[in-house]
């Protein structure tokens, strides 16, 4: 069994904008994800951070084929799932699941909790409604809800409880890999910790592998083993969590990390404030994508696209000057 559960090679997701006139000539594309290379190890949590619109969520959804990838490969246990037939894909869906950001939008308001979670079993297993109900009740207590909640509707729960329902649904089929798409961003800080700890606990019990997408650097630091930093559809740096937070290499990572509020105000660190806005993903800058806002940019950055090179120990960075 290989060390990597998932390998992503040259993944690109482009969305067409507008109708591009007759027959789509001159159509432009939003390059939401534009050439990603990374892999996820069995049993680890890989955190992905980046600002809004950098393609984090699109990446997560492309891995599950919820949005169609334009190019590249996603190898799940060595099989390219982007090429899998729809029949094979249905089987693969048991292995890969997703937890969504918005606990209000991710549960069908017209179904009971039993219906929402039971759908997983309906789609994949032949169970009597009695057996299905038992399974759902077991799952509910597994995520810290009560079995009798099975008959309730989503609007009768709080945000944290709803997110637990979402987690139960994702884990119903005992997947190996779960994409967590900002699972705690919509929750109160006090509830965030509970949900994150629940997820950690479940990861150990069920030997899960997580891709944890978030814009909250502290949450990512808490839950991840390794962290990748995305900017404008590409990954600029990926490293072991300790290494990345202690020794950031890419100028963008440094700027991001300097923005984390310090618990100890006397230990002031220099804030790196980036100039300008994120360029449009329709027309990303030539060469290095970050060069328009990079304090260290030179002429070379406009001409050559930096390689995503390994600095040793799996610390990879996309910058000419490291």
């Amino acid at each position: 069994m290989s060390e990597h559960l998932l390998e992503i090679k040259g993944l690109k997701v482009h969305f067409p904008t507008g109708d591009g006139g007759w027959f789509g000539r001159g159509r432009q594309y939003v390059k939401a994800v534009d050439g990603l290379d990374f892999s996820i190890r069995r049993g680890e949590t890989l955190g992905i951070v980046g600002e809004s619109g950098c393609g984090k969520s699109t990446t997560g959804r492309a891995l599950l084929r919820l949005v169609p990838a334009t190019e590249g490969q996603v190898l799940f246990e060595g099989r390219n799932i982007l090429r899998a037939s729809s029949g094979d894909m249905r089987g693969l869906r048991r292995e890969m699941q997703i937890i969504f950001q918005d606990p209000y939008a991710s549960l069908d308001p017209r179904m009971t909790v039993g219906g929402i979670i039971g759908e997983a079993f309906k789609a994949h297993e032949r169970l009597s409604s009695r057996e299905r109900e038992e399974q759902v009740q077991e799952l509910l207590s597994f995520v810290g809800l009560r079995p009798e909640h099975i008959r309730r509707y989503p609007h009768e729960f709080s945000g944290g409880q709803r997110q637990r329902i979402g987690i139960a649904r994702a884990l119903a089929l005992r997947p190996k890999f779960v994409v967590c798409d900002e699972p705690v961003s919509a929750l109160d800080v006090s509830i965030q910790a509970q949900v994150v700890n629940l997820m950690k606990e479940l990861q150990q019990k069920l030997e899960l592998t997580y891709l944890f997408i978030s814009h909250d650097l502290r949450v990512v630091k808490h839950i991840s083993d390794r962290v990748g930093v995305m900017y404008l559809g590409a990954m600029v740096e990926i490293a072991d969590k300790r290494e990345l937070y202690a020794n950031p290499q890419h100028p963008y990572t440094r700027a991001l990390l300097s923005a984390i509020p310090q618990a100890n105000p006397s230990r002031r660190r220099e804030r790196i404030i980036l100039q300008g806005d994120v360029p449009s993903p329709v027309n990303p800058p030539s060469g290095c994508r970050f060069r328009t806002r990079c304090p260290e940019a030179t002429e070379r950055c406009a001409l050559e696209t930096p390689a995503f090179k390994d600095l040793g120990g799996g610390h990879r960075v996309a910058c000419h000057y490291r």
Partner: protein, 308 residues
């Protein structure tokens, strides 16, 4: 409440049970506030009752002329004790015909709207959910049907076929699905991207199941409103066709073909009871249905209030 069980305790609104039931109840509470809608509903209930009970309520036979004691036909008799709303030019009781005509209008409305809603939802759902070429083909057909001058199409078709109530229902149903198809397609495009649909997709639920179980129940409100408003249109179209003589045929009464008699200037000027009551019936029915539609829209989705 148990102290040791769940970390977050009981649900916040645990006292209120049955989400679906309370949703219907809340919609009804909002509906009741709209006086016109309540009036419309009352009128329609009355109309439905009269139509169903027409054979029991009608004072005379609506299909044949009535002979008086002298043995002649009571033609164009004024409203009186015997004929509450008078008689028409063939001596048939207007009130009885009015009641039976209600059956025609309501069945035309119901059947044609059922046809068009089923068609519209089916094609709109296919177009919206599957997208790509399915979408293009269906929506181009919609555009073409939209461009047809519907009235002339119906007149032509019903003149070619044998004009009858049955044909009118089918023709109206077959040309009026486009609005629903567009509506459903748009709603599906919106709902399809919602996270709970994505979640079902991620679970490997089949597309058809997703549409039926998650998408359609969540877009029922606008479909219902659209269907209601289209019923009024269908009734109006039927009346117009029958008025022109290509719809429901004599001796079957329809509000439209009753109005037909008003083409005679004599009737129009001096025999008001022959055309006034069917005209009022059409007006009140169409108004009532539109009021109901507006009321439903506000009641089912408060966010849509004020939008037409």
């Amino acid at each position: 409440m148990g102290w040791t069980t769940t970390p977050e305790g009981a649900a916040p609104k645990s006292s209120r049970s049955g989400g679906e039931g309370s949703m219907v109840f809340q919609a009804w509470r909002r509906y009741k506030k709209n006086k016109l809608a309540v009036f419309g509903l009352g009128f329609m209930v009355l109309l439905v009752l009269i139509s169903i009970l027409a054979p029991l309520l009608a004072p005379h036979d609506p299909f044949s002329s009535i002979k008086n004691e002298a043995g002649t036909l009571d033609i164009m008799a004024k409203p009186s004790q015997e004929y509450l709303l008078g008689t028409d030019s063939l001596g048939r009781d207007v009130l009885s015909r009015l009641m039976y005509a209600g059956r025609v209008s309501l069945s035309v409305g119901l059947v044609s709207v059922t046809i068009s809603t089923v068609l519209g939802v089916l094609l709109g759902a296919l177009a919206g959910y599957y997208g790509k070429w399915t979408d293009s083909v269906i929506m181009r057909v919609v555009d073409v049907v939209y461009c047809f001058p519907v009235m002339f199409l119906i007149i032509t078709v019903s003149a070619l076929l044998k004009p009858s109530m049955f044909n009118v229902m089918i023709i109206i149903g077959l040309v009026s699905w486009v609005g629903t198809a567009r509506l459903v397609r748009g709603e599906i495009l919106r709902v399809r991207e919602l996270e709970y649909v994505q979640a079902s997709k991620a679970l490997g639920v089949r597309s058809f199941t997703i549409i039926v179980r998650h998408i359609l129940p969540n877009i029922m409100a606008p479909i219902l409103v659209q269907a209601t408003l289209m019923t009024a249109d269908a009734i109006l179209t039927e009346a117009a066709l029958s008025f022109l003589g290509v719809g429901v045929q004599q001796p079957t009464p329809s509000w439209g073909n009753m109005l037909n008699e008003a083409m005679s200037i004599m009737v129009l000027r001096f025999k008001y009871w022959i055309w006034l009551y069917p005209g009022l019936a059409i007006l009140l029915t169409v108004l009532s249905i539109n009021f109901i539609g507006d009321g439903l829209r506000d009641a089912l989705d408060p966010k849509l209030k004020g939008r037409k």
